[in-house]
């Protein structure tokens, strides 16, 4: 049975437990590494507030995929899943409630700016404040500083979960604004979701930051019950052959982890997501798969255990196994090192990476961190002839 969602107090560790029932009426910021339970805390805190009579309340997330993912867990609680919204839906609903016509631009960044500007104008014009009793933000690092200020004005209290290392969308860092918006900050140290082998890769990806605290030191993952593994990156002549290898692995993984979501993450749409999606939908895994289309959303459905989406769409989501396809296209992304970190840390137990072009050096090096150390090359091997593909 999947252990994604916490259903009883015993599922929480010592640092997570007290956060759920912190005093109502104050604002909190919860920071912590991937797998420290931030999303679960957002959901349980909202359920706690809801059951305590705070019903004018919304959970706001940045991506549709995360909204669907939380909703898939939210069905198990009293909190109505309809109150889980993307920031886009949150702004549109608010503008319409006050009679502001909404004409969305097509471009993602333009639309984002438009919605923030229109909402800000509305707030100023109507002198709006405390429209909501509470707003809970997951993946707070994805929100712009202006959005944090706007949302904290619109709500009596806010509860924000965030991890600046997972910031992969454009825009200024909102960490200071989040701190200013809350009464108290809680730092989660431990995580229990991500296997140690995967932590090694994540830690190696972040070793360019002196403030980074290694995840491996604070892992409470049960490595005996479910040993983790990072496969050596595999290079294939084409994306089609990458897809064939991934399909083959997924067949075995579906049998091994029958109740778990399995992720295939793609850095870009055109070059990676579309051909991989086509190959998976043409295989006998089609019925077990859900693939991101042209929107940013993937629906999480009980019978569809294989999820194919972009790394950006996967933010906040977790999978038992992750295949990163077309990994050389990480270089095309803005904040690509953070994107690699986000992709890697979506995996709980198994990570594999496929590519056709050359991997970014930092990523290739990081993937080596989970392998046994290599002895220095022998001098005759240094001259002529390829030793590896």
């Amino acid at each position: 049975m999947s252990k994604t969602w916490w259903l009883k107090p015993g599922d929480l560790n010592e640092e997570q437990g007290p956060i759920i029932n912190l005093p109502i009426g104050k604002s909190y910021l919860v920071t912590g590494p991937p797998g420290s339970g931030k999303t679960n805390l957002v959901l349980l805190r909202s359920n706690y507030l809801y059951l305590s009579g705070i019903q004018n309340i919304e959970i706001v997330v940045f991506t549709r995929t995360l909204q669907e993912f939380i909703a898939s867990g939210g069905n198990q609680y009293d909190f109505p899943v309809q109150k889980i919204k993307t920031s886009k839906r949150f702004y549109i609903d608010l503008l319409r409630r006050y009679g502001v016509p909404v004409e969305l631009p097509n471009d993602f960044n333009e639309m984002r700016t438009y919605l923030i500007d229109e909402t800000t104008k509305l707030v100023k014009k109507k002198n709006l404040a405390d429209v909501f009793k509470a707003v809970l933000l997951d993946e707070g690092h994805s929100f712009l500083p202006a959005e944090i200020d706007l949302i904290s004005r619109l709500s009596e209290t806010v509860f924000i979960a965030s991890d600046a290392r997972q910031k992969i969308y454009d825009g200024a860092d909102s960490s200071e604004n989040m701190r200013a918006a809350v009464d108290q900050e809680y730092k989660l140290q431990f995580h229990h979701r991500i296997g140690r082998q995967i932590c090694k890769v994540a830690d190696a990806l972040m070793n360019d930051s002196p403030d980074y605290h290694p995840m491996r030191d604070d892992s409470q993952y049960d490595e005996v019950a479910m040993p983790s593994r990072v496969e050596l990156p595999q290079r294939f002549p084409s994306i089609a052959e990458q897809a064939a290898k991934i399909v083959d692995s997924l067949k075995s993984q579906l049998k091994t982890y029958p109740d778990e979501f399995l992720g295939v993450l793609c850095p870009t749409r055109k070059e990676v997501l579309y051909p991989i999606r086509e190959a998976i939908l043409a295989s006998d895994l089609a019925d077990a798969s859900v693939c991101q289309g042209d929107s940013d959303a993937v629906e999480f459905l009980p019978g569809k255990k294989i999820v194919v989406c972009t790394i950006h769409a996967s933010q906040g989501v977790e999978f038992r196994t992750v295949h990163i396809a077309g990994a050389e296209y990480l270089k095309k992304l803005h904040q690509d090192r953070n994107a690699a970190f986000t992709g890697v840390t979506r995996a709980k137990t198994n990570l594999s990476v496929c590519h056709t072009g050359t991997l970014p050096g930092y990523f290739e090096q990081a993937l080596q961190a989970a392998q046994p150390p290599k002895p220095p090359a022998k001098l005759p091997d240094v001259f002529g002839g390829k030793k590896r593909t």
Binding site: M1, A225, M226, P227, S228, R229, S252, Q253, K255, T256, Y257, P258, D259, T349, N350
Partner: protein, 456 residues
């Protein structure tokens, strides 16, 4: 407890009226039973005073040799309470004493998960190949021999009574015309022999046991350490030498463990050791090691059931033996539901919860009348048979599908209503299509021709 001695005529009066008419001879006792003198002496038991609280007797105590005759007599003279064992337990004095003394709540202690694993394994064996094993129902689990044995053990019954349960379970299947089972009872007896020996702490087997010492020792290790030792592994892989050096893969990632199981089962098929019990056990152990202490991988075994029909029984046992309170969380709560029934508190002095008891089923099926028309069952096509007091088994009985006419009578109007609703929905769709200008597909020439022919 309240007690009263009666003769057959008086008993028929009590059953026909649903109450005792006179308190003469009624007395309250702690638990003692009266000595029964002759063939016409019967003792009735109630939990509470039957005068103030009119009830059928919970128990009819009568000599074992007289039970069948009494039931035949009651079927004749008290037809409104047929079958009488749906209302009252029938027991001889010795059996009644055992159940009256066993007052503690049913429990299986350290072997609870092993029993539950075996119950699910047996159920999956019966449905295997027919449907998705993960959709096994808890009612199907309650119909297994393992459930009946585990329930008996939970109630603290001795080996002789458990043996009687096994016998009655099989005979009930024959009496109700249940379809034949895909496996013999031998592997089940072997698996239960393992639990029995582990519970007694016996690891040396006397001759004639249905299980090998090697399998018993392996199960003991799985139970105590969660895995089997190096030397045990070497012994078990004797017929599959290619597996001998691979034990460490069981400590690696789960995908590797799945691959090891698939290699083992293919190897066993190739080398034709499929008739070898130890090889079958080894394959089941490997499958249970993919995710120890859970039943998450029933589906992985399904393709191999034709060659290894007992795989799921051993898989269930290994999963239960290696469980550290983890089994209950698997299969979407199925195991918890089965556990609820397994340890359900049901006092002997409560009226039964079955459709009929075995002894009466046996008596009725031996008569010339069609007994199936006289039974009122909770679910059409299903019969709950009490094998011994407080131990029920659920049977699928196709002969009883028409037994509950009331249910099908209620169904007909509902179906008519549903049909009318569908017609209305169809009309609405046509109207919307017309309004939206969507052309309704015309029937093809072939379909028209078919309609014409049908109309002729």
């Amino acid at each position: 407890m309240w007690s009263k001695k009666v003769n057959r005529k008086e008993l028929a009066e009590v059953l026909n009226s649903g109450r005792i008419t006179s308190a003469d001879g009624l007395y309250q006792s702690e638990s003692g039973l009266s000595a029964l003198g002759g063939w016409d002496e019967i003792e009735l038991l109630w939990k509470d005073n039957p005068v103030s609280d009119s009830r059928f007797p919970s128990v009819i105590v009568v000599d074992r040799t007289e039970q069948r005759d009494l039931l035949a007599w009651l079927n004749t003279y008290s037809p409104s309470t047929r079958p009488v064992t749906a209302y009252s337990h029938i027991a001889d004095r010795q059996t009644a004493s055992v159940f009256l003394e066993g007052t503690s709540a049913p429990r299986l202690g350290r072997f609870e998960d092993a029993c539950l694993g075996l119950i699910v394994g047996e159920t999956a064996t019966y449905v295997g190949g027919k449907k998705d094993l993960r959709s096994v129902t808890h009612t199907a689990c309650l119909s297994t021999l393992s459930f009946a044995i585990a329930r008996s053990a939970a109630l603290g019954l001795d080996a002789k009574m458990i043996s009687e349960i096994e016998d009655r379970w099989s005979r009930s299947r024959v009496l109700i015309g249940a379809s034949p089972l895909p496996v013999t009872s031998e592997p089940l007896q072997a698996a239960w022999s393992v639990i029995r020996h582990l519970a007694k702490g016996e690891f040396k087997l006397p001759l004639g046991e249905p299980v090998s010492s090697l399998v018993l020792e392996a199960c003991a290790q799985v139970w105590s350490h969660g895995e089997i030792s190096d030397s045990e592994w070497q012994s078990l892989t004797k017929d599959l030498p290619e597996l001998a050096p691979l034990q460490d893969e069981l400590k690696g990632p789960r995908e590797g463990r799945l691959s090891l199981f698939e290699r083992a089962v293919s190897g066993a098929r190739r080398s034709q050791v499929d008739k070898n019990r130890n090889a079958e056990f080894l394959c089941a152990y490997l499958a249970s090691s993919i995710s120890p202490g859970t039943l998450d991988h029933l589906h992985v075994l399904q393709p191999y059931l034709y060659t290894f029909p007992n795989l799921l029984i051993w898989y269930g046992l290994c999963a239960g033996l290696s469980s550290r309170d983890t089994l209950g969380t698997t299969l979407n709560g199925l195991v918890r539901r089965v556990k609820r029934e397994l340890v359900r508190e049901e006092h002997f002095l409560q009226n039964p919860s079955c459709d009929i008891a075995f002894i009466e089923l046996e008596m009725m099926s031996g008569s010339a009348r069609d007994w199936t028309t006289e039974l009122r069952v909770a679910t059409p096509g299903h019969l709950i048979v009490e094998l011994l007091p407080c131990i029920n088994s659920h049977y699928r009985a196709p002969r009883l599908e028409g037994a509950n006419e009331l249910a099908s009578g209620e169904l007909a109007p509902a179906l008519n209503e549903l049909s009318a609703l569908l017609d209305r929905a169809h009309d609405s769709i046509s109207k919307v299509r017309r309004a939206a200008g969507i052309v309704t597909p015309r029937p093809s020439e072939f379909q028209k021709e078919k309609k014409r022919k049908a109309g002729r």
